[in-house]
Amino acid sequence: MPDIAASTERATKIYMSGPAEVRALDDVTVAFHKGRFSAIMGPSGSGKSTLLHCLAGLDSVTGGKVYLGEQDLGTLSDRELTLLRRSRVGFIFQAFNLIPTLNATENITLPTDIAGRRPDRTWFNRVIDVLGLGDRLTHRPSELSGGQQQRVAVARALVARPDIIFADEPSGNLDSKSGAQLLGFLRRAVDDLGQTIVMVTHDPVAAAYADRVVFLADGRVVDELESPTSDAILDRIKSLET
């Protein structure tokens, strides 16, 4: 399956909290295809972030397997995982995405700089262009609005040309206008730049930007929806709640 960017095979994640065990992921088998924009939805505590972290090599599963492309993440050491994240994975978090002491450009090129590589100039310019960050490049995060900060984070994820980008509620902290703008950029990154994005969200409107929605509940994949509209998503959520 050459067109799979990331996948899990019967992945299970168990947290021991006191005497009780919490199954954050319970036998999850799911695959995310290259060049697509996928969303993960589900109620709070359903294991969305956990799944994302395990796919990204930030966390390890208790049982089952996780693959990034063909690479089995379970066989890698901490250092190998770090190097893998550096070159093949991009991140966008809900907040605190940027290093406050570095300006926008330096933040954007951080993963390539750390790796000791030079960012591809034409690609860099294209990304900046798409995201409309041209006049903000020398600003520090404290001098940028929340929406601009998130756009810088998107640029950082894109510039390293990773195999896949994971975003955990990237528009969660933004007002609806900036949020819509940001989701529009993610959509363009997939359509125009050929990126692969997996995004966790609570918001049916946000999820409607995706090509496909995966629904989680109690650590299990309970449903899926292709080419969703926000109404269809809302319907599905309602039916899942009952």
């Binding site: 972290h53 990204a56 930030l58 966390d59 901490d78 250092r79 770090t82 190097l83 994240r85 550096r86 070159s87 994975v89 991140f91 978090f93 809900q94 907040a95 605190f96 995405n97 940027l98 290093i99 406050p100 002491t101 570095l102 330096e106 951080l110 993963p111 700089d113 750390i114 790796a115 000791g116 950082r156 955990d168």
Partner: protein, 846 residues
């Protein structure tokens, strides 16, 4: 509120532990200095009280109190008969004593490197010693030795050793070993007893005596008896209750010990001063990090005062715990000093360490005061946090005081500091405040002023110093930006290092300047070919026979023996000297200012320009000298010469000396060789004579300079070792700040890890940050240190002291390197913490 205080403490265990460490180090020195002096004092209490155990009344020549270490005048033994005739006297016996250096028959010196070498006549009446082995000396040529020294040097009854006093060294057989009370030794001193006939000869008493031990009849009060005896005594001789005499001697001794106490205390206080920055910084950071929590307290109705009490409460608990531990540290330190003393030959009688209530009080009080003063500003800031801060999303940056106000405050403090510093250095004094106090206060104020000003230039200077690091790449750039990110924090952190480095630089510059000056002076002044000196420092002196025998050598064309001792002039203790003045000016170069040194009479003295200035006298003026044994004596100033740094400030003729000092030892002998005698041949000839006087060295100009410099270096080395303590506090400061910063930047570090920063890269980032902060502090310190050095030296020069300013570049660079390395070491643990940070926990959103 107390519950919250405790919770607050427990929530910040690690940072508070590090703060406590700084308080602990400072209080340890304060406590250690007291424990050490109290312990020594206590031991000597015992020794002195048993020293007059058998005696009720002691009869001695009077001596000036401030000069109690000077040998007392001798008096006629007829007094003994008169005393015996006094009603209530059971027995009385005269005794004589003096310095007695010891050596093995092959000339190896035994003891005497610092602690005194005491000898006395073995008498019956009031003899305090107890025989531990063998028998008392019964004839000339027999002696007893204290058991501790015998054990130390591996001597036993039946062996012979050399006793070196005023005459030629003589052989004595050890016939017994003695102790005093419960002690076998005398704090590293050597003590011998010989029979009265031998004592009279070797101590040059010429039939006279030093003291009379009197035993009272049963039931007679010693104090009353002393009054009775006083009536039959000649002028200048005094009868004293023996217990009082012991206390008097002890007081003099304790004064000498006071120096060590002061020395250690100064370092303790410097350490505590450096700690204030660390403590202040820690509390400030904790307060900043707890802004929301504290605002919550305010929101639910806590008053400002309560918030302040909470922060100060935390400080109090930390201070008390750390200072209490500091008392323990002080005991350890005292033990370490005792060990060091023993290693350098000063056997200190073993005994329990004395921890006086005052010691505990002083340590707790200084620890508490320093901590509370340091925590005051953070506590004030905490109390000013507004309740709305609880609702704010991000931690709001601390209110920025206006830069202008900061600049103003800092400049004023620094200005006052410089003014006080120069006032002190120029010898300004007011009632109760010595120039040294002015210098100390000035330096302190200057340090604080610079520390206040530092945040104003942290960014430009830090970025400049960090430029090479930033040039290495993103990790280096992150390290540099982190280092200057919070200017106030960086300033406070680097302040301790600044203080340590400044003092170290000062010590280095003074040392180097003294070295250079010594070389120059000796090259300039040293006209003789060779100089004969006692080896080691303190204690040992030259027998006057040495000069007599050397003068007889055909290889010697001229020599001059110089005697030195202390006397009081114008309220200050000064070193005065005596020599054949004509010979002196021939062999040592002096620059005459007024009158002629070589022509002074027995009622005249030659004084240095220094002393002339201090005592405000000039050529032809009268000058009163207070001698230990002969009291106030008036002389006229017969000549004024250019002060010569290490030498004496006053010279008198040998006849004037003998009229006023009991001591007959020489301190050094300058020798010129006859024409045609090479330096080596001359040295051989001289050594042939001095070999008979163990502990006597023959030095040429270079060796003399080396000898002089090695003593300076030892002192600088000691200062340096103690300054390492300040550096240690700076080190703890860096460690503390880094840890706190890392906790604050958890999220950022998590992000760095998430986007692919390896653990090693993170460690590197933290380490470079530490190095930049350390070097920042070191560079500030160095600048200040060079300024201090320059100020001290130019002030000395203005005071007519001949000293050349020399700035040892390599050593100063080494000091910066040491600071950088200490930064690397301080970063080890924080770097490890940073790199081990759990990525998921770090990026978890609230």
């Amino acid at each position: 509120m107390w519950r919250a205080t405790w919770k607050g403490l427990l929530g910040h265990k690690l940072r508070l532990a590090l703060t406590a460490l700084a308080i602990f180090l400072g209080t340890s020195f304060v406590a250690g200095s007291y424990v050490f002096t109290d312990t020594l004092g206590g031991l000597f209490d015992n020794l002195f009280s048993s020293a007059f155990a058998g005696t009720d009344v002691l009869v001695q020549a009077t001596v000036d109190e401030d000069l109690s270490f000077v040998q007392r005048a001798r008096f006629d033994p007829e007094v003994v008969d008169a005393i015996q005739a006094v009603e209530g006297v059971e027995a009385a016996e005269g005794t004589v004593g003096g310095f007695a250096n010891l050596a093995t028959p092959d000339g190896e010196v035994l003891g005497g490197q610092g602690p005194p070498t005491i000898g006395s006549a073995w008498i019956e009446v009031g003899n305090p010693f107890e025989l531990r082995d063998g028998r008392p000396p019964a004839a000339d040529g027999e002696m007893v030795l204290d058991k501790a020294s015998a054990d130390r040097f591996g001597l036993t009854v039946g062996q012979e050793i050399l006793v070196i006093t005023l005459g030629r060294p003589e052989r004595f057989e050890i016939v017994g070993l003695i102790g005093l009370g419960s002690s076998d030794g005398f704090g590293g001193a050597t003590a011998i007893g010989v029979d009265p006939v031998a004592a009279d000869r070797i101590f040059g008493a010429d039939g006279q005596i030093d003291a009379v031990n009197v035993v009272a009849r049963d039931g007679v009060d010693p104090a009353l008896l002393a009054e009775q005896i006083q009536t039959v005594l000649p002028d200048g001789v005094r009868a004293l209750d023996a217990r009082l005499a012991a206390e008097e001697q002890l007081a003099g001794f304790k004064q000498a010990l006071g120096f060590i106490n002061t020395f250690l205390l100064v370092f303790g206080l410097v350490a505590l001063f450096a700690s204030t920055f660390l403590i202040q910084n820690t509390f400030q950071i904790i307060v900043t990090q707890r802004t929301r929590e504290l605002a919550m307290f305010r929101a639910i109705g806590a008053t400002r005062r309560q918030i302040m009490a909470m922060v100060l409460g935390e400080a109090t608990i930390v201070a008390i715990l750390a200072s209490a531990a500091g008392v323990g540290g002080g005991i350890g330190l005292a033990e370490a000093i005792r060990w060091a003393f023993e290693r350098f030959g000063g056997d200190i009688p073993s005994g329990d360490l004395v921890v006086a209530r005052r010691t505990v009080g002083a340590a707790l009080l200084t620890g508490l005061v320093v901590t509370l003063v340091s925590a005051l500003i953070p506590a004030l800031n905490a109390s000013r946090i507004l309740p709305v801060a609880a609702m704010r999303e991000a931690v709001s940056p601390p209110r920025r005081r206006s830069l202008r106000r900061r600049g103003f405050t800092g400049a004023i403090l620094a200005g006052i500091g410089v003014a006080l510093l120069f006032a002190g250095l120029r010898g300004f004094r007011t009632a109760g405040l010595s120039p040294v106090a002015f210098v100390g206060a000035g330096a302190g104020s200057l340090f604080v002023g610079i520390a206040v000003l530092t945040p104003l230039f942290t960014r430009p200077l830090g970025r400049t110093l960090g430029a090479p690091v930033a040039a290495m790449g993103t990790i280096g750039r992150l390290a540099r930006e982190n280092a200057v990110r919070s200017p106030r924090r960086t300033a406070a952190t680097s302040s301790s290092i600044m203080i340590g480095t400044a003092l170290a630089a000062l010590a280095l510059i003074l040392g180097s300047s003294l070295d250079t000056t010594t070389d120059a002076l000796i090259r300039d002044r040293f006209r003789s070919d060779l100089i004969v000196q006692p080896g080691g420092f303190g204690g040992a002196e030259l027998s006057p026979r040495v000069a007599v025998e050397l003068a007889e050598l055909p290889e010697v064309s001229a020599l001059v023996a110089i005697r030195r001792n202390a006397a009081e002039i114008d309220g200050d203790t000064e070193f005065v000297a005596s020599a054949d003045m004509a010979r002196l000016v021939e062999l040592v170069r002096f620059e005459n200012r007024q009158g002629r040194m070589d022509q002074i009479t027995d009622s005249q003295v030659a004084i240095s320009t220094d002393l002339a200035g201090d005592a405000d006298v000039g050529l032809g003026d009268p000058i009163v000298i207070t001698f230990g044994s002969s009291g106030d004596q008036s002389f006229t100033v017969g000549a004024v010469f250019e002060a010569d740094g290490p030498g004496s400030d006053l010279y008198m003729t040998p006849a004037a000396w003998e009229a006023n000092f009991v001591e007959r030892f020489d301190s050094s002998i300058f020798v010129n060789l006859a024409e045609g005698v090479g330096l080596e041949a001359g040295r051989e000839a001289l050594t042939a004579v001095t070999a008979k006087y163990p502990g006597t060295n023959v030095l040429d100009q270079n060796q003399f300079a080396e000898e002089a410099k090695s003593q300076i270096r030892q002192f600088i080395g000691l200062v340096f070792a103690l300054l390492a303590l300040t550096l240690l506090i700076g080190f703890v400061g860096i460690l503390n700040t880094l840890l706190l910063s890392i906790i604050e930047r958890t999220r950022e570090i998590g992000l760095l890890r998430a986007v692919g920063t390896t653990r090693r890269q993170l460690s590197r980032m933290v380490t470079w940050e530490a190095v930049i902060v350390a070097v920042f502090g070191a560079v500030l310190g160095l600048t200040l240190g060079v300024f201090f050095g320059w100020a001290v030296i130019t002030s000395l020069q203005a005071d007519d002291v001949e000293i050349l300013l020399s700035i040892p570049g390599t050593w100063l660079a080494a000091a910066v390197a040491v600071a950088a390395v200490s930064g690397v070491v301080a970063a080890v643990y924080p770097a490890r913490r940073a790199s081990r940070l759990n990525v998921l926990a770090a990026i978890a959103y609230e």
